[in-house]
């Protein structure tokens, strides 16, 4: 048994080393004549310190290896090999046309089980068309899509048992009661969750006898979410879940989605709110004019804009953005909707230089905003437009 003997030897050496150190320490601090008990106490404090630093080393090593594992896994994911995971949703080169208009132009992505995936883009970018092809509500004109291994057009009924969805433009009959609505839909599926429990969870228990048209916007959306979960779906599609809701209700919906995220529910959501994508999504795909222009974790995407600060200024008179680019500390400058967006490596010198420049030009500063880069900057950088055009 060579392994165990080396282990034992190693331990002995280590103990001896400590012992030696402690002896040396005690010797320098106290006379040799001191009692055995005192010596052993001193040596034991010293041992703890060493032990502590040793554990810290172990912890560091563990973190480094974990990080490495993560990088390897990421590498595997991006290259499409090495990974053991199985995507629950796959889209390849999806195309959707409406007459002459090509709404989705060759979009590809995949979503892993338990992941919250966001499609971020302005209105009319093709997000809803993409998601509705996946839900089986629209027929694609090209490409391939599978959800839970099922083709939305070939196996629509099997698919509908596996997915839940909150649609954008939808409603329920006005005179349908909340409890009737959720029970009715529960009756359509093979696998169901307890409707009463869902209503309780979404704060609709006391509204269960209300008619649908008596509910507020937020309550309607919570009911839509509860109904989407009634068949305990493997994949949940949320199409603009907070569009048109006031900020407080929006936060309520975020809390619900975060809770679902903790439950490891696979969620595909579309949004044109930056905040929503950053806050809720594990991975985001930015989509514009029917094309996927970037994808990654929100952090990865933001790193595209480098380690810069965003300074947005409005000026009384227009100026050449080329000359703004040349200012001290400014990496680049863009003109968006009559405002200038400066990406600055060093913010303070850039602002000082900007003010001096404007003074020299006889221009006025109307407004100035400093922010860390967001996904909005990524979008501006990629398209030259704002997300909410």
């Amino acid at each position: 048994m060579p392994a165990s003997s080396t282990g034992a030897a190693g331990r002995r050496v280590w103990r001896n080393g400590l012992q030696r150190h402690s002896v040396g320490f005690v010797a320098s601090k106290a006379p040799a004549q001191e009692g055995d008990r005192y010596t052993s106490f001193e040596s034991s404090t010293f041992n703890f310190e060493q032990l502590f630093s040793f554990f810290r080393l172990l912890l560091d090593l563990k973190l480094i290896t974990e990080n490495l594992e993560l990088r390897v896994a990421n590498l595997g994911y991006h290259r499409g090999f090495l990974t053991m995971t199985n995507p629950v949703l796959q889209v390849e080169n999806l195309v959707k046309r409406y007459g002459e208009v090509e709404a989705v132009r060759g979009v590809s992505f995949s979503v892993e089980e338990g992941e919250v995936f966001g499609l971020l883009g302005p209105n009319g970018a093709g997000k809803t068309s993409t998601i509705e092809v996946l839900e089986g509500l629209r027929v694609a004109d090209g490409g391939r899509a599978t959800v839970c291994g099922l083709d939305p057009q070939r196996n629509p009924n099997e698919l509908k048992n596996e997915i839940g969805a909150v649609l954008q433009a939808t409603s329920l009959p006005d005179k349908l009661r909340v409890s009737e609505a959720i029970r009715l839909f529960a009756g359509f599926y093979k696998r169901t969750r307890n409707p009463n429990e869902l209503l309780r969870r979404f704060g609709l228990a006391e509204k269960r006898h209300s008619f649908y048209n008596q509910l507020s916007g937020g309550q309607k959306q919570r009911l839509a979410l509860a109904m989407a979960l009634v068949n305990d779906p493997r994949v949940l599609f949320l199409d603009e879940p907070t569009a048109g809701l006031d900020p407080q209700v929006r936060r309520e919906i975020y809390t619900i989605i975060e809770e679902l995220k903790r439950e490891k529910k696979t969620i595909v959501l579309t949004t044109h709110y930056i905040e929503e994508a950053e806050k809720l999504c594990d991975r985001v795909a930015i989509i514009d004019h029917g094309k996927l222009i970037a994808s990654g974790t929100p952090r990865e995407l933001k790193q595209r804009s480098g380690d810069t600060t965003r300074v947005e200024v409005r000026l009384a008179k227009p100026t050449a953005k080329e000359s703004l680019c040349k200012l001290d500390g400014v990496a680049d400058a863009l003109e968006v909707d009559g405002a200038y967006v400066l990406h600055c490596q060093r913010t303070a010198p850039a602002i000082v230089a900007l003010v001096k420049y404007l003074e020299a030009q006889g221009n006025e500063l109307v407004s100035l905003e400093i922010a860390t880069p967001s996904l909005e900057d990524v979008f501006i950088e990629l398209t030259g437009r704002r997300l909410r055009d």
């Binding site: 048992n161 433009a169 939808t170 329920l172």
Partner: protein, 301 residues
Amino acid sequence: MKTILKLATVRIRITLRNKTFLFFSLVMPMAIFFLYTGVLARGKPEAVRYWMGPILSFTVMGTFWGLSMQLVTWREQGILRRFRLAPIAPSSMIISSILANYLLIMPTVILELLLARFIYNVTSFGNLISVFVLVILGITAFGAMGLVVASVTNTMQETQIINQLLWFALIFLSGATIPLAALPHMVQRIGLFLPATYFVYGLQRAMLADAHWYTLGTVVVSLLAWAALAAFISSQLFRWEPEVKLPRNAKLWAVATILPFVLLGIWSNQNGKVLSTSANMASSYLGEGRPTENTPPADKR
């Protein structure tokens, strides 16, 4: 089946909570009942018995209004989209709506028969089994027609216009308001192309001549064929969403539903039996084929 029953139950509940429904399915038929029995029949039991056919056909034909309006509203408001997310077939939506309508209209039909019995002392309604067979067929056939209308229209306004046109043709040219025998000769010939004519005629034959439903071959077969064809076409043209464009030939399909009645109309026009029988019925129950003062006098044959 479970899906159809669940949908039908919910549809009945929603409809009963709707005030417009109560007006159209209870207040209107009652108004028509008392108008016909009180004014046209002047409370005479024999005349009331004659007018029961048109009264019941009014109630039954009204189904196509409700069904087409509900389908179009549900599609316009995106309610159908929500249903589409669940594993539900278009046929379940169609069958459940006709079933719900059947259960909603039956009480009114029974109420009208009871009122005739107890207020106007009508002692016999002829062959009641035939009456109910025809009512069931009528609800299915006219309901399916409403669904076809809803399939080819996109908005409430469009649906209402088409419904109005159909409704006036159905009630004025078929003998449901003015006895067929009292209509101008030309209109009678046009009336023979309308399903409503055969429906009113069938109901009157069952009530006045005790006809068994299986002896009313032409009426039963034509209504059955029409119901089947309309239901089939409405399931083929069923659209969950308003944006979905209709196939170019869809409107031709919708027009195809009238095919059984085109053939029947040609046949009846040559044969002349329906016209002569309904003239006989009118003259024996109302006297001289002149039922009311509403009849246009110049066009008497």
